[in-house]
């Protein structure tokens, strides 16, 4: 069996990450991981819910040392966690915060990240090797049947992905960039472009996840230059609009939705730094990159190839273990680059979180008392303004409030309908489908009615 090192660092005394208390060396990180590996409860898989990027990565590494997998749920919804528990009954949660946000870890066994008095860092004598075939993480997408679908990622393919990304961005040669990320470690883009880049891309990360624009400025200030900001179009738009004073940012990396050329131009001119984007999805990992202001076409990462097969564009090669049909509409260019034309109509992307209409409809109609129901995505105003979903439900015995309370248990908050309209029936055609044109008419009628109501004196 082949092996890949846990970290790519040349020396145990290099800086691995930055915390509010100061830099952490590779040696200290390895000592923390070794200590945690000894303490984790039995079970081959655990939900890594650590909010702190450093503790998340210590958890990941502790698992790898012991042949275990970290499960990365994109949301901590009760319905999702219960489904994961059904699939792996010995599951436990690694947590680092008494408050887990709007949703807690339910009744799943919980292991709190310990204060680590630590294996003595001086006892660490090298960087361990990890079997390349080991399933390092399992990530989830919302399946069309209403159940989350698990995707296993081997350590070998994750490292290949990280090295291809770091090589494309020019991070492997030259000065070490400090990464500040606004995206969570549990999200595929955040995992690849902060956690993996620190492990295999020569780029230590900041342990926090800044939220408000001033937090982003403070986090950037706390790490040494050169700096790379890893964020999303929505967050980038807010940070620029807030006009906070930012220290020098040398690179910016964005993903989860394509940037508009206006925002890319505003960011490059304000920061005086190149803005690169990554295109990928949970199933493939990262597929391609571009710098929009130089070239709107996407260039696949080394070894990755896109081909038209039957009715789909399929990505394969490089770090992609199994060929994957992409959910977006893509135009292939003769030289291997490609243009992203738009989303498949079923795919939903709200502020970088992805789901599908089929999945959301399934969640709505599975609520007891709902006779029929469907989500609808109005046309987007612009890439940076968030267009919310709305939904229609036929549920004679339920109030709008009761329905929303039920949906909140099943659907991530960003996908909750605004508004949810109760109707007598849905405009289904003879074969039971809901044509978008008919839904558009229904939406227009209800939206116009609300405007009229609001305008009444």
């Amino acid at each position: 069996m082949s092996h890949v090192p846990l970290l790519a660092h040349a020396s145990l005394d290099e800086i691995f990450a930055y915390q509010p208390s100061g830099p952490v060396t590779v040696r200290s990180f390895l000592a923390a991981a070794a200590t945690l590996a000894e303490r984790l409860p039995a079970g081959r898989r655990f939900l890594n819910l650590c909010r702190d990027r450093y503790r998340f990565t210590v958890g990941l590494a502790a698992g790898l040392l012991d042949g275990r997998s970290s499960l990365l749920p994109t949301s901590q919804l009760p319905a999702t966690l219960r489904q994961i528990q059904r699939q792996c009954p010995t599951i436990f949660c690694l947590c680092d915060s008494p408050f887990d946000g709007p949703f807690d870890s339910l009744d799943l066994p919980r292991f709190d990240f310990p204060d680590l008095p630590i294996v003595d860092p001086e006892e660490i004598d090298g960087i361990p090797d990890i079997p390349s075939e080991l399933v390092a993480i399992t990530v989830y997408t919302s399946g069309s049947t209403g159940l989350p679908v698990a995707h296993d990622k081997s350590w070998g393919s994750l490292v290949r992905n990280a090295r291809a990304e770091a090589s494309r961005l020019g991070l492997l040669a030259g000065p070490r960039h400090s990464i500040v990320g606004t995206v969570p470690a549990q999200h595929m883009f955040g995992f690849e472009s902060t956690v993996l880049l620190a492990m295999h891309g020569n780029s230590p990360f900041w342990s926090g996840k800044p939220f408000y624009p001033q937090d982003v400025a403070d986090a950037l200030q706390a790490v040494p230059p050169p700096r790379m900001l890893v964020t999303t179009p929505f967050h980038l738009g807010i940070v620029l609009a807030a006009e906070v004073e930012l220290p020098t940012v040398n690179r910016l990396l964005s993903a989860t939705a394509p940037l508009s050329s206006q925002l890319a131009a505003a960011a490059e001119s304000r920061l005086a730094a190149p803005v690169d984007e990554i295109y990928g999805c949970t199933e493939t990992g990262q597929v391609a990159s571009r710098r929009l202001l130089v070239d709107p076409a996407w260039l696949p990462l080394d070894g990755v190839c896109l081909q038209r097969e039957a009715h789909a564009i399929v990505a394969s090669g490089g770090h992609i273990e199994v060929p994957v049909a992409l959910a977006d509409e893509i135009e292939l260019l003769p030289d291997g680059r490609f243009m992203l034309l738009g989303r498949n109509a079923d795919v939903i992307n709200v502020a970088g979180k992805r789901s599908s209409l089929a999945y959301l409809d399934h969640q709505l109609t599975a609520i007891p008392g709902v006779v029929d129901g469907a989500f609808f995505q109005p046309d987007e105003a612009s890439p940076e303004s968030i267009t919310r979903l709305c939904a229609f439900a036929v549920a004679p015995q339920l109030s709008e409030r009761q329905l929303l309370a039920q949906l909140r248990q099943r659907v991530d908050a960003v996908f909750l309908p605004r508004p949810l309209w109760l109707v007598d029936s849905l405009p289904r055609n003879r074969i039971g489908k809901l044509p978008r044109a008919q839904m558009q008419v229904l939406y227009a009628a209800h939206a116009a009615h609300e405007t009229h109501q609001a305008m009444r004196p």
């Binding site: 800044p210 939220f211 408000y212 937090d215 403070d218 967050h235 807030a242 409030r401 960003v414 909750l416």
Partner: protein, 92 residues
Amino acid sequence: MSEETSQAAAMLPEVAQLIVAALNLDLDPSEIEPDAPLFREGLGLDSIDVLEIALVISRRYGFQLRSDDEDNVRIFSSLRTLAAHIASQRSG
């Protein structure tokens, strides 16, 4: 009633109006109950809304929110707590 509390109470309609405008909500500002939760079963706001509201606050009142400001969850727990935070920041 302390001066700060009365200032916050006086700001309730203004902050309600700000939330409705920032988020394009289909409701009258007076419908937002001062002590009802802004998240989940109340108005149903999420972190995207918080960033949108924070941006409008920084423009209107000239200060930036920070995550280490007191208890961030508490600031956004209701219209009244948000108005109180704004009142204390702009007067302070």
